[in-house]
């Protein structure tokens, strides 16, 4: 479960309080290189120039939701394997399957604790 704590992470959510909470939890786990984006467009633009290693994004956002953001990230050569964790308010089967199709690496249901987040991230990066 060796998580690379130097990973550059970007947190995407239109609600700043949520971004702050996630950032804090990431800090608790040990990730200090965390950036934020308040919507899909900004996220894409940052990802384009930013050398991110991991994306954590909310599903439900106006204009471009998490799935669309994910699809666009996946549609590009250089980011098609960029690890992506989806944050959702609940995990209904249809949604989960849609996420699988879109190529998400894992999902987490809010509200969540630091332990859960760590677990979910660890699942993505084995050994």
């Amino acid at each position: 479960m060796a998580l690379d704590l130097s990973m550059k992470i970007i947190v995407v959510d239109d609600f700043s309080t949520m971004r702050r909470i996630i950032k804090n939890i990431l800090k608790q786990i040990g990730f200090t290189n965390v950036d934020e984006a308040e919507n899909g467009q900004v996220a894409i633009s940052k990802i384009a120039d930013g050398n991110y290693d991991f994306v954590i994004s909310d599903w439900n956002m106006p204009e471009m939701n998490g799935i669309e953001l994910l699809k666009r990230v996946r549609a590009n050569e250089s980011t098609k394997d960029l690890p992506f964790l989806m944050v959702t308010a609940e995990a209904k089967k249809e949604n989960v399957l849609e996420a699988v199709k879109a190529g998400v690496n894992n999902y987490i249901v809010k509200p969540f604790t630091a332990e859960t987040l760590q677990e979910k991230i660890s699942k993505i990066f084995p050994d």
């Binding site: 700043s16 384009a48 050398n51 106006p62 250089s78 690496n105």
Partner: protein
């Protein structure tokens, strides 16, 4: 001010504020469809203003600040200084949610707490939006000049495709074997290999289709091109990217037709009454009804016994008067407990909006008859079932925009929620014009789950097949609950409805839509019943379930497959002998077929479309009774839903028709 006084005021504040916030949610959705409505804007403004004012007196500064920002925008809106944009709506709704959360914290702890102390972002956004118009003009000027530097999302994604220098860093992550959600689900046994393969197949198919149709990657592309592109200062931190709110009709809002739902004025003379007090009055009236019944009974007997006697005639007259008054009193008390279904209907527009946005569907919720009134306890019980039914329509009923377009349906799906009086009942319907339910698929699933066997499945009509979804066990998933979400099945919905003596029915046409119909009694505690006798015992059957009564000869009873049935106008009616069911010694004349010519009574009861005939010895007539729960004594006794005391003082058990029907079907 003394602590307990303060507590009382805080309690009032919480109650009042939550009520306002609920109505605000409702009003906002209305406003979205009718943004120039002055009256609506005023009502909304006043709500925010009142919340702010009250919070101020109680020292809840954070609530005051947030409410003030909202009130500010609302004031400008109602003065016509700015106009409503989708972004503004989103943020205002967010403000409402946040206020609600803060007030709930107050209700639990008596103070604001510090978790909510930072709404500065939201407040800033709201304030920015309030200054909206000016910002937009300035930005337009600026963007014209800096057009060349602006990156559209298109350009960015293209850029990504050609970017070489980031390959290294991305390669770092690539090298590590990163898992997919599909892999993880497989690992954790949350999904089967077949299901996963199925999904990938579907994905491939979708991608193929897209290629052939030459749809540009990302359906929302056109929308983004229309927007003024954001200025992307790469070095600026996120917070400073200006939010350009251009009022464009996004796909979600274009097709919403404004239904003329009137906004009734909330200013009435009312008084708040503790619900316990009303329950008490209801109880007392119930007792009064019972006593009246007794009195009436005795008086009638007296009249017969002392025919012509002045005293007994006088008594009869007084009782007749008492009768009228008691009935009126009963109705009046019932009315005090009645509330318009609007109470629960009001949260649905917002729920449908949020859900459909999340699923990328376009759905319009039409509500009819929200002024229809129901007993408070009934309203409380149907809340959850209705949520479940509407979610079903949104999730499973209405298809995606693409799918609908493909089959020639309008892209906007419609969900209709209506409530109306029908005699002594309220009928609530939840219907959609979605893809409907396939009876064959349902039958198959039921067989898979072991609910019915193949033979039964074949003999089931399409209508009966639909009812299978109400069986316990139908909706539970095989895998862990994480995927099945809340796991509230249709069987729970049905149970809840039956708990209040209601009936639930379902109708559906594949490809056209589905509808669930709830039939609920106006009052919970007092019902009309048919009094029947078996041997020496007396029972009451709720009249709302009685279809008809028959008098037949024993000889007409046939036995098929160990079930007793009769032929009723060309269809087969299963029978249930009440005496046998409750182990009562039947009177000698009826029973083991000794006298086939003996006539017996059959009470045909129905629940939804299921019917059975209950065999009894005697029919005694109709009586209105007050249901008294048996409490603990009732546990484990299927078939009995309560007890009552009839007009002539006898204790009578009330039959639970639903479980009677169940027990016949299962056998």
């Amino acid at each position: 001010m003394r602590d307990d006084s303060m507590k009382e005021i805080v309690g009032d504040f919480v109650q009042e504020a939550l009520e306002f916030l609920e109505s605000l949610n409702e009003n906002f959705i209305e406003l979205e469809k009718d943004p120039e409505n002055k009256e609506l804007l005023n009502t909304i403004f006043r709500a925010a203003h009142t919340i702010k004012g009250s919070a101020g007196f109680l020292g809840f500064q954070n609530i005051v600040e947030l409410a003030h920002s909202a009130e500010n925008i609302l004031n400008k809106l109602r003065q016509g200084e700015i106009s409503l944009t989708p972004d503004m709506m989103d943020y205002l709704l967010k403000a409402i949610d946040t206020l609600k959360a803060m007030i709930i914290i107050v209700s639990k702890t008596g103070t604001e707490g510090d978790a909510t102390s930072d709404n500065t972002e939201l407040i800033k956004k709201l304030d920015d939006l309030a200054e909206g118009r000016i910002l937009q003009e300035e930005d337009l000027k600026v963007t014209a000049i800096e057009n060349s530097e602006i990156k559209t999302v298109d350009e960015i994604t293209n850029k990504l495709a050609h970017e070489e220098k980031h390959k290294e860093n991305h390669a770092k992550t690539d090298k590590r074997k990163v898992k997919n959600l599909g892999d993880i689900l497989l690992e954790d046994n949350l999904i089967s290999k077949e299901e996963l393969e199925q999904i990938y197949k579907e994905k491939e198919k979708e991608e193929e289709e897209e290629k052939y149709q030459q749809v540009e990657p990302g359906i929302k592309q056109p929308e983004i091109k229309e927007q003024k592109p954001e200025q992307n200062r790469m070095d600026a931190p996120t917070e400073e990217v200006p939010r350009l709110s251009v009022a464009l009709p996004t796909e979600d809002r274009r097709r919403l037709k404004p239904p003329p739902v009137p906004m009734p004025e909330v200013k009435e003379t009312t008084i708040r009454v503790d619900i316990d007090r009303l329950d008490n009055v209801m109880n007392l009236v119930g007792e009064l009804v019972l006593a009246r019944n007794r009195l009436f009974n005795i008086s009638s007997k007296l009249e017969v016994k002392y025919e012509g006697d002045d005293l007994s005639s006088a008594l009869a007259q007084v009782i007749s008067n008492l009768n009228l008054v008691t009935t009126d009193l009963q109705l009046a008390v019932m009315k005090t407990r009645m509330q318009p279904v609007k109470k629960i209907f009001s949260k649905f527009p917002r729920m449908v909006r949020d859900l459909s946005r999340e699923l990328g569907k376009d759905i319009e919720l039409q509500i009819h008859g929200e002024e229809t009134e129901l007993d408070k306890s009934v309203i409380e019980e149907i809340g959850d079932p209705l949520v479940h039914l509407i979610r079903n329509s949104v999730d499973h009923g209405i298809e995606t925009k693409k799918a609908r377009k493909k089959i020639g349906k309008p892209e906007t799906g419609i969900i209709k929620l209506s409530a109306e009086h029908e005699g002594n009942y309220i009928v609530i319907t939840v219907s959609d014009d979605g893809k409907g339910m396939d009876p064959d698929i349902i039958k198959k699933k039921a067989v898979e789950k072991g609910i019915i066997d193949d033979k039964t499945a074949l003999s089931l009509s399409d209508k009966d097949a639909l009812s299978l979804i109400f069986t316990p066990g139908f909706s539970t998933k095989d895998k862990a609950t994480e995927i099945s979400g809340r796991g509230v099945g249709m069987d729970v919905v049905k149970t809840n409805i039956q708990k209040i003596n209601g009936i639930i029915d379902i109708d559906s046409q594949i490809g056209q839509g589905s509808g669930v119909i709830l039939k609920l009694p106006l009052t919970v505690a007092i019902i009309q019943t048919l009094i029947v006798g078996v041997g020496e015992d007396i029972f009451a059957i709720p009249l709302n379930s009685v279809v008809e009564t028959l008098r037949i000869a024993e000889s007409s009873i046939q036995t098929i497959d160990k079930h007793e049935v009769i032929n009723l106008r060309k269809s087969v009616l299963s029978l249930l002998r009440l005496g046998r069911e409750f182990g009562i010694k039947e009177s000698d004349s009826i029973g083991t077929g000794s006298s086939l010519n003996q006539e017996i009574y059959v009470v045909v009861v129905a629940l939804a479309e299921k019917r059975i005939g209950i065999v009894v010895d005697d029919l005694y007539g109709q009586e209105e009774v007050v249901i008294k729960s048996l409490g603990d004594y009732q546990l484990g006794y299927k078939g009995i839903s309560g007890a009552t005391i009839t007009g002539d003082g006898k204790v009578v058990l009330i039959i639970d028709v639903a479980s009677m029907i169940e027990s016949v079907k299962i056998r």
